[in-house]
Every structure is written in C-alpha cells, then in structure tokens.
Symmetry: C2
Subunit: 200 residues, 2 copies
DNA sequence: CTATCTTTGCTAACACTGTTAGGAAACAGA
DNA sequence: TCTGTTTCCTAACAGTGTTAGCAAAGATAG
C-alpha cells in the first residue's frame, strides 16, 4: 500500500514547507511579524491547513526553537573537540555560543527573545538537556582540579549559561557601533572572570 | 487664568489614570495582555482619548519602563549608602538589583522582557544613565586599588550588568521549585566571581 | 446674550491578528 | 457506481492597534 505512504510523505512535505516559510518570514521581518496568514500565503494553502500540522502559532515557534538548539549543540560539540583541556574547552564553547547568537541572531531571538513568556513550555525541549550536558563535563573537570573541588557543578553551569546569555542580550540591544571590538573584550573578560572564579 | 491651569491639571489626571490602569492590568494579567481597549474600559473613556496622551501603545509601556528604572535607582541608591567600602557597595547593589527583579517581577519584565524588540527606544531613557553611574563609581574605586588599575571601568560595568541580567532572566524561566535556595547561591557565586575577576 | 471658534470625546471604521465551525470537493475502498 | 473518509476552503468570531470624521460642550469675543 504505497498510497498511504505517499500521503504521509505529502503531509510531511506540507509540514516542512510551513516551517520553511515561517523561518523565511522570521529572518526577513523578525519573529514578531510572523503571522499564520502570511505563512498560509507563502505555502499557497488556506489558513486552517496550518492547524492540521501545528496546534497553534506557538507550536511553530517552538519547533524553530528546537532547530536552533540543534544547530547550537552541533556548534558547541565542534568547539569542544578542538581541545582536550577543560579550561580551553570552556573558552572555545563560550566563543562558539557567542558566535551562534550573533550569526544566527534570528534563531537566538526566537529561542530566548520569545523569552520569558513561553518558557514554561521550553522545559520540554529535549535538545536542552544535551546542551547542558555538553557544557557540564569540562566544568566538572575544572572544578575537580581546583582549590574547591566540592563546588556544585550544576551551579557553575547555571552561572556560565546565565552570564553568557546576559552578556549577549544586553549587547544585542546596545549601541550597535564599535560592535566587534567591544564584544571581543566583553567576552574575553567574562571567560577569564568565570574561570578564575572556579579556580578560586 | 486659573481656567487653563485646571484643564492642564485634568489632562494630567487622565494621563495618570491611563498609566495607573495600564499598570494594574499588567500586574493582573501580564504585560502581553495589555490592550488599549482594556485601558479605555478601565478609565471609562473611549479609545481615542488614550491617543491624545500617548503616541501609541509602546509609549505607555515605555513610561512604565521609566517608572521601573526610577524605583530601581532608588533601591540601588539606598543599598549603596549602606557601606563606604566599594566591594561591599557592589555586593549590596547586586543584591538590591536581584531583589528588585524578583519583587517587582512585572516591572522587570516590562523593562527587559519587552526586551530586545523595542530597545532602540530604550536608549532614550535618561533614568538609564543615572543607573549606570550609580554602579560605575564603586567599580572604578575597586579597579583603582586592584592589580590591574588600567582596566576599563565601563567594560566592567557592562559585564556586571549583563551577567546579573542573565542570571535573573534564566532564573525567572526556571524550575520554580527550590527558588530561594538556588537563587541565593547563584547570586553569591556571581558576586564573588565578579569581584575576584576585577581584583585579578 | 449670542455668535464663533476651539477643544474634547465619541462612534465607526480599517486593517490586521489567532483560531475554529461547517460545508464542499476530491479521493480511496467496496 | 456508491459510500465513507480525508483534504481543504470559505466565512466567521473575537480580538488587536490605530485613525478619520463628526457632534457636543466649553471658552472667547462682539
């Protein structure tokens, strides 16, 4: 019965095209300008078809968020492999995270800028746990060989993530001039500060 | 001509009642649920009257943002006065900032959660400069008496603010259980990390 | 006191938004 | 061919921000 399979494939195709259209609209006009009707226009279907594939608008954004975390995870994985030294790993991952935020600005804004409102639902992103575990490992190593080996690594992970996110979000809304220069300094400042904070 | 003055006073009263109503709606239903029509209902005027006092919806939110920064500045000012030691001043101010965020959650979310979108306009908040200067002073002192007195204080201020904001925003969307405990630790962790980062 | 002119505040509309109910057409299986 | 399902659209509901245009009330001048 290849006929049922074709239907499934077609359905999947529509679902995909919805996400493609949504993503294009987000990059072109910002995620706040995203609307169901614009998506419907883009995929050349009527509005209710979208609701056969997604429960609501937020579900679409959530899917894009997942995609974002997948890319971020891949980037961080690569960065980590560049060294076996935990200290260097943390540094490279911080740079990688930073680069992701500014090179995939649209993704980052959907992932967090959508931000505080819908973040009860964000907990249910499995991509998020791989993300945390990726960073957790070198942090553990670093703590282990520090002056305070009893430190809670989850606490440090939390701090790492939060600070990095804060730096990025404050920077994103900032002066827009002297971008490259300041960013480089702020990031370096953060990394040394963080690592020296663990070492004691 | 007391008659013109009365008119001005009345106009100011309406303007005030708009902000009061807006604020009440924000605290009750969250700032995303705020709508011009709900405000109009609350103040018992028709919709267009609101546009005689504010250019648009965002202008109302911006006004609330300003109020938020005024309160925050007052809090930080008090915290600072509790000690003459720059190190302690930074610590107290960090605590104060933290407390503000969690006790005036609605304000904080309007101030930042409105966040990245409308933050080209946020630059034009004069309250923001007093805010930065308040923190800048102890940072300068601390740098001056550190191992690296040539460090840029603005860079450190930037780092301080960003990290604190990051900690708060990540914490706000978090597990909601073990709130008090974790928060206390994360905050303490940040402060020591930051100060030790300056000292070298 | 009346006529004019300005201010004030309303109704109604425009152009959107997310979401859904209900029906028509196309398609699959008997 | 007839029946039942799936697919898909039209149209509507209930909102949103924003504005044009008009009527009533207030203030000013003759």
């Amino acid at each position: 019965m290849g006929i049922a399979e074709r239907k499934i494939r077609q359905k999947e195709e529509v679902r995909c095209s919805i996400l493609r259209a949504a993503w294009q609209l987000v990059t072109e006009e910002g995620w706040q300008a995203l609307s169901i009707r614009k998506i419907a226009d883009a995929i050349e279907y009527s509005v209710p078809v979208i609701y056969d594939h997604f429960a609501n608008k937020e579900a679409i954004l959530l899917e894009l968020t997942k995609q974002g975390f997948q890319i971020l995870n891949a980037d961080l994985g690569k960065a980590k492999k560049r060294s076996a030294n935990p200290e260097k790993q943390i540094e490279y991952m911080a740079y990688s995270y930073w680069e992701f935020a500014f090179e995939h600005k649209a993704y980052y804004q959907v992932m967090y800028g959508l931000g505080m409102p819908s973040c009860e639902t964000v907990k249910e992103i499995p991509e998020l746990s791989s993300f945390t575990e990726l960073i957790l490992e070198p942090v553990k190593h670093l703590i282990h060989s520090s002056k305070h080996p009893e430190t809670d690594p989850y606490l440090k992970l939390h701090t790492f993530w939060s600070m990095l996110h804060g730096l990025i979000s404050i920077n994103m809304m900032g002066s827009s001039s002297n971008k490259e220069e300041l960013n480089q300094m702020v990031l370096q400042d953060f990394i040394t500060s963080f690592i020296s904070g663990i070492k004691g």
